[in-house]
Amino acid sequence: MKLVACINHVPDTTAKINVGSDGKSIDRTGVGFIINPYDEFAVEECLRLKEKNGGEVIAVTLGGDAHKETLRKALAMGVDKAVLLKDESVRDSFSVARALADYIKELSPDAIFFGKQSIDGDDAAVGSMVAEMLELPSVSVVVKLEVVGNKAVAEREIEGGHEKVETSLPAVFTAQKGLNEPRYPSLKGIMSAKSKPIEEKTPASVSPKVEVLAMQRPPAKSAGKIVGTDATAVPELVRLLHEEAKVI
């Protein structure tokens, strides 16, 4: 099977995010970057499918040199090939999807995996957009996947339950937490990843369709009230919720 995992390089989940000097992007000073957590499930699923069916796994990312760190993480996990679509221009989901779709089209893969969303932009759009651009079916927020031949049955998470979706391959899947347990790279994997080649390509320049006008931190919450220190505070809390907050 030819499998593609699309991954992103994003701020660590513990990072405190501040607005940068341009007022519309984040201040990167001191921010650590990691592989997008949801993309680890995507990479892991590709590796499992390869282990079961044979083939190769290609990890792709769009970004600058810094993104190579995330590609090396994927190589350390065991992907066969890593590709950097080198571009640092401001892109939106549509233009990112276009670059990925143009590259992936040449590969004619059997399945393409994404994380369900990237924890920076939180659009949850790129995977499904790439599928539409490649005219392939897609299933998003996948928590379970069975592939038999060129058919797949995926379970996806919806409000209050799950949907069982049947589709044919090739297809795009976006991974949700719970799909699998991503492996920790072995020391051998980490060491060999350092010297594996990363292919670089230059994607076509595409204008974004969404423009960020401004970025702001949420309004600071004003200090709340400590109502008490034990169960005796409960009647007052309920009174406040009912009469002041009016939420019950």
Partner: protein, 324 residues
Amino acid sequence: MKILAIAEQRDNKLKKTAFEVTKAARAIADQMSAEVVALVIGENTHGVAGTLGGYGAHRIIVVDHPKLKLYSTTAYAKAIAEVAKKEQAAIVVFAATAMGKDCAPRVAVKLDAGIAADCIEIRVSNGDVLAVRPVYAGKVSTEVKVTSPTKIFTLRPNVFSSGTSNGSIAPVEKSEIALSDGDFVSSVKEVTQSSGKIDVAEADIIVTGGRGLKGPENFKMIEDLAAAFGGAVGASRAVVDAGWRPHDEQVGQTGKTVSPSLYVAVAVSGAIQHLAGMSSSKYIVAINKDKDAPIFQVASYGIVGDAFEVVPALTAEVKKLLGK
């Protein structure tokens, strides 16, 4: 100018988000001399679709087909795009539900449109529609403009009010869109609902338990409190990773982002990643025996005390108030 409002139905009942989206579309339409066309996809949805007139739809279109009873990404995306093109809709609005988030990106590509996703605010400014959306798990938010001629917005559930029907009637038309078997290349075969419990993503009141509860058996009191409020049970990441609660209850950066009217955090310390998922809750109550727990910095009301004493007392008091 037309705004197409995608009204989601499940089991032939319109979801609350269908009314939220239609009402929000109408609020924009009124400022732009535009018409709101609501779209319902499914089988035999004619009857329920009619109710959208009372929530601001000027016209309602129904795409009806037995195979559309359950969701199909490719078929729904095609139907929505075809209707949008036929109506020459300049704006298409979805709810950012599981279905909306799955479908809107494919519709966007079909319509060559940009998407402002998971918006918490949309407004008209100098003839443009601007949107505010949280990014970086809600640690910051951005104000965005969609620059393509056709624009798509997906609205975060439970943020825009659905209000109540004003009783207006709008005509319901059956769409002539034709769908072929190939359009159903991927389709839902079965839907399983978690036994009767409310999903955190749709709840207006959430009670979340954290690691401080010491063990899964102690979640019974969280369930009881949630039931007393008529709300949902949420879980911190630590508790889900420990296997005490299922992942679909997880609130936080790698769980769900929620915006309920009331969020009660019990024995939750308030790590950045958890706050990222719930800090836009209207009111936050924290119950924790550590007075320095970060959760108290975002809580509207707090009790610094033993959850095992406070929670049962709170359940009893809430039941008393609500006459349960």
